[in-house]
C-alpha cells in the first residue's frame, strides 16, 4: 500500500492505534463520502449525461452511464432495427430485431433469418443495451450553431476584461497603498462600500449609460462596466501594503519615475495577488450571464453563457446540447483552478482575506 493510500485509509481505531473502528472513524467516513457525492455527483452526472442521446436523457429510470439500445441492419429493411433479448413462449431466449410494435405485441425478426416474423409480448423482451457516447452532442453545436463564435466572444471578453481589470485595479491599489494623501482611507472605504451594491440595483442606470455612449450590442459594453472591482482593489491594496516602503524610496533614489516604480517594482512584487485577481476575474467574466444578456441582443455577439440559453426554446429544450456545452464552458474554469490553485491559496492568505 502506498503512502497516499495509507494516509487516506488511516483511522483512529477502537483502541486509538488504528485497529478496528472508532465511532469518529465512521462519522468521518460517512460525512466525507456524502460530501464527495454532493460535490462531485452533479458534475459526474453532467459529464456522463452530456454524452447521452435525447432519448436516453428522457429515459426513466435514469442511468448514470450513457446507454443506447443496440441496432442492427437487417436485410429487407431500410432502417436499422433495435435489438432485443426476447423470452420465447417455449422457453429460452433469443436476440431478435424489432420490426414494429402493435399494441402490446412486438413483431420481431431474427437478424440471421430475416424471413420469419416472430411475435413477442412486449413484457417479454428487454433491449440489448450497449454503452455509447453521443459525441455528436459536442460536434453538432460547433458545426450547426454559432458555438465557435460564442466561444470566441467569451474568450475575448474574458481576456480583455481581465487585462484591463489587472491594470486599472493595480493602479488604484498602488495609489491607495503607497501614496499619502488626504482622504485616502475615505476613498478606500467608499470603494469597499460599493461591495454592498448588487448588480440588480445598478442594472438600469448602468444600462442607460452603456446605451447612451453607444456600447449597446458591443462586446466593450460587456467588458468596461466590470473592470473596476472593489474586491480587486482590496486584494491588491492589502498585498501592496506588505511591500516595504524602503523599496520605493530606494527606487526613487535610483531615479525611477512614479510610473517606473509602479511598473517595474510594485507590479512584479504584487504578482501573487495579481494572479489571484486574474483567476477571479477569469472565472467571473467567463461565468457572467445577466449583464451580457442585457447588453447583447444580436446572436453573433453572444457569449457562451448567453448562447447556452438559446438551446432552451419556448417549446423544446435541447438538453443534450445544453449539457454538452455546459461541460465545454466549464473546462477553462476547471483548468484555471487545477493549475493555479496554489496561487489562489497563497494569494488569498497573503491578502489577509477569508
Amino acid at each position: 500500500m502506498g503512502a497516499a493510500a495509507r494516509f487516506i485509509f488511516r483511522r483512529r481505531g477502537s483502541n486509538g492505534r488504528g485497529k478496528g473502528w472508532h465511532w469518529t472513524d465512521i462519522v468521518t467516513w460517512v460525512w466525507l463520502v456524502c460530501g464527495l457525492l454532493i460535490m462531485f455527483g452533479p458534475a459526474v452526472w453532467l459529464g456522463f449525461s452530456s454524452f447521452k442521446t435525447p432519448a436516453a436523457l428522457a429515459e426513466f429510470p435514469p442511468t448514470i452511464l450513457p446507454y443506447v439500445t443496440q441496432e442492427v441492419r437487417v436485410e429487407g429493411y431500410d432502417k436499422p432495427l433495435a435489438l432485443y433479448e426476447a423470452t420465447l413462449e417455449g422457453g429460452g431466449t433469443r436476440v431478435l430485431a424489432e420490426v414494429r410494435r402493435i399494441g402490446i405485441v412486438s413483431q420481431m425478426v431474427d437478424p440471421n433469418a430475416p424471413g420469419e416474423i416472430i411475435k413477442v409480448n412486449i413484457a417479454d423482451r428487454a433491449p440489448v443495451r450497449t454503452m455509447s457516447f453521443a459525441t455528436e452532442n459536442y460536434t453538432q453545436p460547433f458545426v450547426q450553431f454559432d458555438f465557435v463564435q460564442y466561444l470566441w466572444n467569451s474568450v475575448f471578453v474574458t481576456v480583455m476584461a481581465t487585462l484591463i481589470t489587472l491594470v486599472v485595479n493595480s493602479m488604484a491599489a498602488f495609489a491607495l497603498s503607497k501614496y499619502e494623501f488626504r482622504g485616502r482611507s475615505v476613498a478606500m472605504l467608499i470603494i469597499l462600500a460599493t461591495l454592498m451594491v448588487p448588480l440588480s440595483v445598478i442594472m438600469v442606470p448602468l444600462y442607460s449609460i452603456i446605451s447612451t455612449i453607444g456600447l449597446f450590442n458591443n462586446l466593450w459594453g460587456v467588458i468596461l462596466p466590470t473592470v473596476a472591482t472593489p474586491t480587486g482593489v482590496f486584494i491588491l491594496r492589502q498585498y501592496m501594503l506588505t511591500i516595504p516602503d524602503e523599496l520605493i524610496d530606494a527606487a526613487r533614489m535610483d531615479k525611477a519615475s512614479e510610473w517606473q516604480i509602479y511598473w517595474r517594482i510594485v507590479l512584479p512584487l504584487a504578482a501573487p495577488a495579481l494572479a489571484v485577481l486574474a483567476i477571479f476575474s477569469v472565472v467571473w467574466r467567463w461565468n457572467d450571464f445577466l449583464w451580457p444578456l442585457i447588453v447583447l441582443s444580436r446572436r453573433e455577439l453572444y457569449t457562451l453563457q448567453v448562447g447556452l440559453s438559446i438551446y432552451a426554446g419556448e417549446l423544446n429544450v435541447q438538453w443534450h446540447f445544453i449539457l454538452a456545452m455546459t461541460v465545454v464552458t466549464m473546462i477553462p474554469v476547471v483548468l484555471v483552478f487545477i493549475f493555479l490553485q496554489r496561487f489562489i491559496t497563497t494569494g488569498i492568505a497573503g491578502a489577509g482575506l477569508k
Binding site: 523599496l247 530606494a250 526613487r252 535610483d254 525611477a256
Partner: protein, 369 residues
Amino acid sequence: MGQIKLTNVKKSFGAVDVLHDINLHIDDGELVVFVGPSGCGKSTLLRVIAGLEKVTGGSLEIDGRRVNDVTAAERGLAMVFQSYALYPHMTVRQNLAFGLENSKMPKAEIAERVGEAARMLEIEPYMDRRPGQLSGGQRQRVAIGRAIVRRPVAFLLDEPLSNLDAELRVSTRAELAALHARLSSTMIYVTHDQVEAMTLADRIVVMRAGRIEQVGTPLELYNMPANRFVAGFIGAPHMNFLRGDIVEHTPGTAILSLAGGYRIAVDPGTAPVTDGQKVTVGVRPQHLTVSRDTASPKVRLGLVEALGAETVVHGEIYGERLMAVLPGQQGYRPGDEIHLDLQAAPLHVFDEQDLRLFSTAGAKAKAPV
C-alpha cells in the same frame, strides 16, 4: 564635489516637530556620522537630506545649490538602506543597473560601471542571483554596490550594519572605512552604535530629540563632551555621574565636594564657577583606578563582570551607582569594598543645566578601551 549645508532645517509631521533648527556644514569627502538614541531624528535628518522627506523650514544646499524643492532623484545622492531595500525580483546585476538604466545611460557604460563595482566589492560570483539567495553580508555589499555605480555626490548610509552579526559587522566596518578612503567622496552615516561612530567618523554629530547636541571629531567628543548627554552617550560603558558642589574657588583651583563629603581640588581653567554651585562630576569607568589610600572614596561592589582582559565592577559610592573598568583579572567578589582613586582620573564637570563647565586632564590618563 559633495558639500552639504543645512541652515535652520526644520521638519515636522503634522503638529509633531521632529527636527528643530539643524545647522550643519559637511565638507567634501568627509565621513560624518549621525549618532543618537532611537527616535532622536537622525534617520529623519538623513531622509530629509536624501529628499525622501520634504523640508518644512530652513534651507538645504548641496554644492551651493539650494535643493529644498529638488526631488530625491535629482539631488545626485545615493542611499544605502537599513533593510538594504534590494529589489527582490531582480538579479544582483539588474539591481545594480536599475538606477543607471533610469538615467538613460548607454548599455556599454552601465555594464562597465556594474562590472567595476562588482570587482571592487567582490560580488562577481553571484551577479546573476536574486537577493533572496544571498547571505546578509552579501546583500549588504550589493546594497553598497548599488550606491557606488551611481557615482553620487554623496553617500547616505542608514544604519547599514545593524542587520549583520557582530563579527561581520566589525569586518564590514573596516571595509566601509577602506571604501571611503578609496572613493574619497562625502558619506553621511547614521547609526545608534557609538562604537561604529567612533571608529568610522571624521566628525560625529550627536543628536537628541531632533536637535544637534554636539558636532566634533570622535576624540573631541570623548575628551570634551559639550554636555552631560554627549558625555554619557559617547564611550562604553557610559560615564559615571556623581553629584557635588563647588565649595570654594580661587583662580586656578576649585574645591569640589562630592555628595559624601569627599573633596577634590581641580583646575577649572577659565570656567565661570561660583562658590556653592551645584555641579555634576563625570568620570569615565576606564579612568578609575584602585587606590591603596584608605582616605579615597570607598565603593561597595555589586556585580563583578570578569571579562578576562579587564574586569567591570558595578558598585555604589555615596549612594550613587558607579561603574569602573579595571585592567586584568582582579578577583573581586560582590560585597567587597575597594577604594577608587578619583584624584588621578580626568574629570568632567557639568553645571546645573548639564552644560560642561570644564574638564581636567587627570594625573595619569589610561588609554580608552
